[in-house]
């Protein structure tokens, strides 16, 4: 048994026949070959699989792909505009906001939602917003700085 889903992923329309049990993260990784979205715990606790579904940060390991039918999905691969990195990507690079990089795609997309909701968050707000995304390498110190830097850069660009 299969079911049909139509989604827009990183700006491109897709229609696929899939197993109704297929999780969104496996649809992205295995069907669309978008392996930048990672699986860290399969239980919505580590956040490595975070993607944007209609602009909201969602953990793709516990959402069925079928539930995303009709939605617009952004993964880490869709964040840069061609060669031009998103300010969050630039900031994570400049502030050394990751080491092994495994949590990074999810972390950046979780931060993306924060900055959509609150363009000028302080350290406490940033830490609160990223609470669902685990990083074992950085102690979060530089991740917080990176998000803060991105907020400043995005505010400057918006002026």
């Amino acid at each position: 048994m299969t079911t049909s889903i139509s989604v827009t992923v990183n700006g491109r329309d897709r229609t696929d026949q899939i197993d109704p049990r297929l999780l969104l993260v496996h649809y992205l990784r295995d069907v669309l070959d978008l392996t930048g979205t990672h699986v860290g715990c399969e239980t919505s606790l580590c956040g490595a699989c975070t993607v944007l579904v209609d602009g909201k940060a969602v953990k793709a390991c516990t959402l069925l792909a079928a539930q995303a039918d009709g939605c617009e999905i952004t993964t880490i691969e869709g964040l840069a505009e061609g060669e031009e990195l998103h300010p969050l990507q630039e900031a994570f690079w400049e502030e050394h906001g990751r080491q092994c990089g495994f949590c990074t795609p999810g972390m950046i997309l979780a931060a993306h939602q924060l900055l959509s909701d609150d363009p000028d968050p302080g350290e406490a707000e940033i830490r609160h917003a990223l609470e669902g995304n685990l990083c074992r390498c950085t102690g979060y110190h530089n991740i917080v700085r990176a998000v803060r830097r991105a907020a400043v850069a995005m505010a400057a660009a918006a002026e």
Binding site: G40, L85, Q89, H96, G101, T104, E131, C137, G139
Partner: protein
């Protein structure tokens, strides 16, 4: 004529070369690999801590749709050997450790069967159709019970004690006789779960044409794994290629040779199809090594002014159910590092390594040294508490003085260089120690609980001289300068987040005067990188970087010879600076490095006796370990009503010798301190009496979230090591080693005026609440 000076790269805050792929989702971790025709492997694991396996019926699984093969331990006999332990411990008992258990399972998570199927889901479905008949046996879970007898984890051994490691230096009895201060304390260094965010994964492909097994693995040690797989699978080593692709964190948990690496390699060869296995997070908790789990009974003798006289330590290391690669070696590092930064001449240690029915322990960030530092740093605080001498002063009175370096310890180490007093002074000033003590006094008067924790540490890094290592302590490097001037570095230290693609390029840029963009740092593929040992024990720069430096010195030397020939000058008179080779004292007479490279490969006008090409391979054998050190301070407030501790300030002064890239060094410290805070306040792997891991998921095991941790204030002193040409000591574990006792000392300081001398980690609110309730 003045030449513009190229900025030095060593010491510069250079953003990382590897990051563009990591921040765009373009990197390839093991689980991202798509191998044509791959089948998927899943493992059935024991739900019991100890049980006899009476029978395994795989027929149901074999009939499941999509299943390609089902294997048990019996099927592997004669095909797949046991897993290795590397050590030099006299008399170590080494029970067999098979990739799939036969006859008896010894911990929850011990694998008994493997299914290979067309999809990962089919493989997991089929696991549920394997019928295993177990006869449950009483497990031994408590390390003291195991040491005293108890049920035997390996009955054939007749004991659970795998080894004893007694050590004695100085005159311990005299040190304790008539000592004005004697303190006894039991300290538990609780079991930790490493939790790299990337789960372990293995993929393998049998190349029938070349008769070569290719194995991709989430490993810190591709070359050691290559050698071990050739032994386990009975293949020539040249028939095994191991690749560590992008690796998502390790912290020691990927410094191993795991059952799945052998099993997946075997299955790929046997089935003639690529096979892939990726750990579930549950497998990450149950069947990936754990760390720590060491019980210490400590007795210390001291003078009334806080001077240490001697120490007796009884250590019980919980090994878990089997030896993994370095399991028994880890606690021996604890013994070596017990004196810490102090003049301690009289020391007796009685270490026993003990099997229990739990997941094996092995290297976890710091690996034996955090345990030592925790003991000695708790001890000096207890001496302070007992004598009334300020903890900073107790430390100062016992420091190994600056003029003692290289300093011999009573455990036989030679500390390379150090300046412990300067680090502590810098810390106390940066943190305003006196101001904090005044603040604390004021708060105590108001009934508020504030603790100030100190820790002064030294660690053993740059592992290490081969004589002191279980399987070689050297590191290898090849540098190839390509015809058009690009430089390819092939290093044996395969990183998993440490940033060597950047720091090694910085070293090359300075030595050869090329741009960072002209340098590629290759690692992790044993068919491309000739030899190596791996990344662990804070050795990447201190040993791997040193091997690179030797290569670069060879290339500079050869370049000078070629340049001398081209310039018709004595090579001795050629200076090589910033990519230019100039005749000393003859301005204007120079050639560029690119001209030398061209000449080396055109090879039609080389000096006599100089071979064509420009490449070098070197092995660096370190003459000693390196000994980074530092001083940490933190402030913990404890809620008097709930007992909840909150860490509000963390200041560290660390000295890791020469710094190649301060941004990367700081990042290592941030992450290391985070893991220290995690052990002190949050994380504890708990087993119940039946041997079930009750903290077997992220719901139960509190890996710190962003809200659990503060930001850190970092400072540095710089004392280069004479042990290697870079002067770099290593920094990967410093934060964890220095940080754990620092946080615990602060927690205990917050309640010490209520009569509390010690609390075991983690300092959960409930423990503090009980202490507070009792003191009321």
């Amino acid at each position: 004529m003045a030449t513009p000076t190229m900025p030095k790269q060593i010491g510069a805050r250079v953003r990382r070369k590897e990051d563009p792929r990591l921040i765009t989702g373009s990197s390839t971790y093991t689980d991202d690999l798509k191998l044509r025709g791959a089948v998927h492997c899943a493992l059935l694991r024991s739900p019991h801590a100890r049980a006899r396996v009476l029978s395994i019926d795989t027929s149901g699984a074999e009939e499941t749709d999509g299943v390609v093969a089902v294997v048990t331990g019996r099927d592997l006999e004669g095909e797949v050997g046991g897993l290795p332990v590397a050590h030099k411990i006299e008399g170590l008992l080494e029970p067999p450790h098979l990739p799939l258990a036969v006859d008896e399972v010894r911990y929850v998570g011990d694998a008994v069967a493997a299914v290979v199927a067309e999809t990962a889901f089919a493989a997991r479905d089929a696991l549920e159709r394997i019928e295993v008949e177990y006869e449950e046996l009483d497990p031994v879970v408590d390390v003291e019970a195991a040491a005293e007898g108890g049920p035997l984890v390996h009955e054939d051994l007749g004991t659970n004690v795998a080894f004893e490691f007694p050590f004695e230096a100085g005159d311990v009895e005299t040190a304790f006789r008539d000592a004005p201060v004697v303190i006894r304390q039991r300290l538990m260094n609780q079991r930790q779960i490493p939790f790299a965010v990337e789960p372990r994964a293995v993929a393998a492909r049998w190349d029938r044409g070349h008769r070569k097994l290719e194995v991709w693995s989430t490993t810190q040690i591709p070359h050691l794994l290559r050698a071990q797989l050739s032994l386990i699978l009975g293949m020539p080593e040249h028939s095994v290629r191991v690749v560590a692709p992008e690796v998502g964190g390790g912290f020691g948990s990927k410094l191993n040779v795991y059952a799945e690496e052998a099993l997946v390699g075997h299955l790929a060869r046997a089935l003639g199809r690529p096979v892939k296995w990726t750990a579930t997070r549950t497998e990450g908790f149950q069947a990936t090594i754990h760390g720590r789990d060491q019980l210490a009974e400590v007795e210390v003798a001291a003078e009334e002014d806080g001077t240490l006289r001697g120490m007796k330590v009884r250590l019980l290391q919980d090994l878990g159910a089997y030896h993994q690669l370095l399991t028994p070696v880890i606690p021996t590092l604890t013994v070596l590092m017990l004196p810490g930064v102090y003049r301690l001449r009289n020391l007796r240690v009685d270490l026993k390594g003990v099997f229990t029915n739990k997941t094996p322990t092995d290297a976890y960030r710091g690996a034996g040294r955090p345990e030592a530092t925790y003991i000695i740093e708790r001890v000096v605080d207890m001496v302070s508490d007992e004598t009334g001498v300020d903890p900073a002063e107790v430390r100062r009175r016992n420091f190994i003085p600056d003029d003692a370096f290289p300093a011999e310890t009573c455990t036989g180490l030679s500390y390379d260089s150090g300046g412990y007093g300067a680090a502590l002074d810098a810390l106390l000033e940066a943190a305003d120690y006196e101001g904090l003590r005044r603040e604390q006094a004021g708060k105590r008067e108001r009934g508020e609980l504030m603790g100030i924790g100190l820790s002064t540490y030294v660690e053993i890094c740059g592992l290490g001289p081969s004589a002191a290592m279980p399987a070689g302590g050297w590191e290898a490097c090849t540098v190839e300068v390509r015809r058009t001037g690009n430089v390819v570095v092939k290093t044996g230290v395969s990183p998993h987040g440490q940033g060597e693609e950047t720091t090694f390029a910085q070293i090359v840029a300075d030595a050869l005067g090329v741009s960072m963009d002209a340098v590629e740092i290759a690692h992790g593929d044993t068919d491309y990188v000739p030899e190596g040992i791996g990344t662990f024990g804070s050795r990447a720069q201190a040993v791997g970087g040193a091997a690179l430096s030797l290569c670069l010195e060879d290339l500079r030397e050869k370049s000078r010879k070629i340049a001398g020939h081209l310039l018709e000058a004595d090579p001795e008179d050629v200076e090589f600076e910033e990519g230019e080779l100039r005749i000393r004292g003859a301005p204007g007479r120079s050639v560029g490095f690119g001209d030398v490279v061209g000449a080396a490969y055109m090879a039609d006008d080389l000096p006599e006796g100089v071979e064509p090409g420009l490449a070098a391979t070197r092995f660096f054998e370190p003459p000693n370990f390196t000994f980074p050190f530092g001083a940490h301070l933190c402030v913990v407030d404890v809620d008097p009503d709930t007992g909840e501790p909150s860490l509000r300030k963390y200041v560290a002064v660390d000295d890791c010798g020469t710094v190649i890239n301060p941004m990367i060094v700081d990042g290592q410290l941030h992450g290391g301190i985070a893991q220290a805070v995690a052990q002190a306040l949050y994380e504890e792997a708990v087993y119940d009496e039946s041997g079930q891991l009750v903290t077997g998921s992220l719901m139960d095991y509190p890996v710190p979230k962003s809200t659990y941790l503060p930001s850190y204030e970092l400072h540095r002193t710089t004392t280069p090591t004479p042990v290697n040409p870079l002067g770099a000591k290593g920094v990967g574990e410093a934060g964890t080693i220095g940080g754990t006792p620092c946080v615990m000392n602060a927690v205990i300081d917050a309640v010490s005026h209520l009569g509390v001398r010690h609390l075991d980690m983690p300092a959960r609110p409930e423990k503090l609440w009980r202490v507070l309730a009792e003191s009321r």
